[in-house]
């Protein structure tokens, strides 16, 4: 097993609560993350991501590798930020791993974030172990991105589970309606 060195990573933390923001920031720095950027809400984060695209020198980084964002923030919350990152034409990297911090346990809200293309969830209260497990998962188990008329984001099917019933999927990888893009 390799030991990861996160020194070349740039992580953006978006959290309105100062205490939690410094907690996540400190934890990531101690885990070896080289460059850490913080924003206080989704709007702030969108402006920062635009700056990275337009003037990386001024932003202090050429790119962001992972976004860790709180869900409930004001005025622009984590969901709106996620939507912007995945769908907006000005988005710098629509494929960027997005870890959503959530205090909600209601399953429909989690489903809502999945539909918008979230990569991982980190639920409050969290431990250091939980934080690094999410980071490791982002690095070790990236999922292909799926683009259909109704969805854009990481493949929501995380694993191949054998299924006895009939396969009702209309399209397969070989279908002419399916295009696979490698990069």
């Amino acid at each position: 097993m390799a030991q990861y060195d996160l020194d070349r990573f740039s992580v953006l933390v978006v959290e309105d609560n100062l205490f939690i923001r410094s907690l996540i920031g400190n934890s990531l720095k101690t885990l070896g993350v080289g460059r850490l950027f913080t924003c206080e809400d989704g709007g702030d984060a969108i402006n920062f991501l635009k700056l990275v695209k337009e003037d990386p020198m001024k932003a202090g980084t050429m790119s962001i590798d992972i976004i860790v964002s709180d869900w409930q923030m004001s005025p622009v919350d984590g969901m709106m930020l996620l939507r912007w990152v995945r769908r907006h034409k000005d988005s710098t990297d629509r494929f960027i791993p997005f870890i959503m911090i959530t205090a909600f346990s209601e399953s429909e809200r989690v489903a809502e974030a999945r539909e918008l293309g979230v990569t991982e969830f980190l639920s409050k209260p969290f431990s250091i172990e939980a934080v690094w497990k999410k980071i490791i998962s982002v690095i070790d188990r990236p999922r292909q991105f799926v683009h259909t008329s109704t969805y854009f984001g990481p493949d929501r099917r995380r694993q191949q589970i054998p299924f006895d019933g009939p396969d009702r999927r209309v399209l397969t990888e070989k279908s002419p309606e399916v295009e696979i893009i490698h990069g």
Binding site: Q3, G32, P125, S127, V138, I139, E179
Partner: protein, 173 residues
């Protein structure tokens, strides 16, 4: 161009990229296995969290003071209760997400309850304001006595008396 016309429209696109992050983290190109963060860094991070946990009661007592201020305003200026309730709810939201992380799940539990009592559809009668006060008082006890975890017997008693206060004032509408 006949071929292009016959070709069905693409409905699904799969994007498969090489793992750039893994290259950054592991260094070696083409590295296939899984990785981990060095144990000593994890230990350090745990230690830093521990350190922050020690500061947490001081931090949270400021928030409880703010809750206390808002409660007083609810008493002094009843016509502006909606605004104060919103502020209370926003502070409670912050607190419910923090307490557990720093070893104070009772604070999270009480903040969650306060959050529910200050929602847009909650009542705003004097009895509701008393319920808010019961929450603030209970939180003060937790912080003053540094009651970590579930607080054992004391924690149970504290939650019991908070629930009793809620029941008492709720019954009065």
């Amino acid at each position: 161009m006949a071929e292009a016309a016959d070709k069905p429209k693409v409905k699904v696109r799969f994007y498969r990229f090489h793992n750039r992050l893994k290259e950054k983290a592991a260094g070696a190109a083409g590295y296939k296995g899984t990785g981990e963060i060095p144990a000593e860094l994890l230990a350090k991070a745990e230690e830093a969290l521990e350190q922050m946990s020690e500061d947490y009661p001081d931090w949270v007592s400021k928030l409880v003071d703010r809750l206390g201020d808002q409660h007083r305003r609810c008493v002094d200026t009843p016509e502006k209760r909606r605004t104060y309730f919103e502020e209370l709810r926003s502070i409670a939201h912050d607190m419910r997400g923090q307490g557990g992380t720093f070893g104070y799940p009772l604070i999270s539990e009480m903040a969650e309850s306060l959050y529910q009592f200050t929602g847009p559809s909650s009542g705003m009668s004097d009895n509701h304001v008393e319920i808010i006060k019961a929450h603030v008082d209970a939180m003060r006890v937790v912080i003053k006595n540094r009651i970590k975890g579930d607080g054992g017997e004391m924690g149970t008693q504290l939650m019991k008396s908070l629930h009793a206060a809620i029941k008492k004032y709720e019954g009065r509408g």
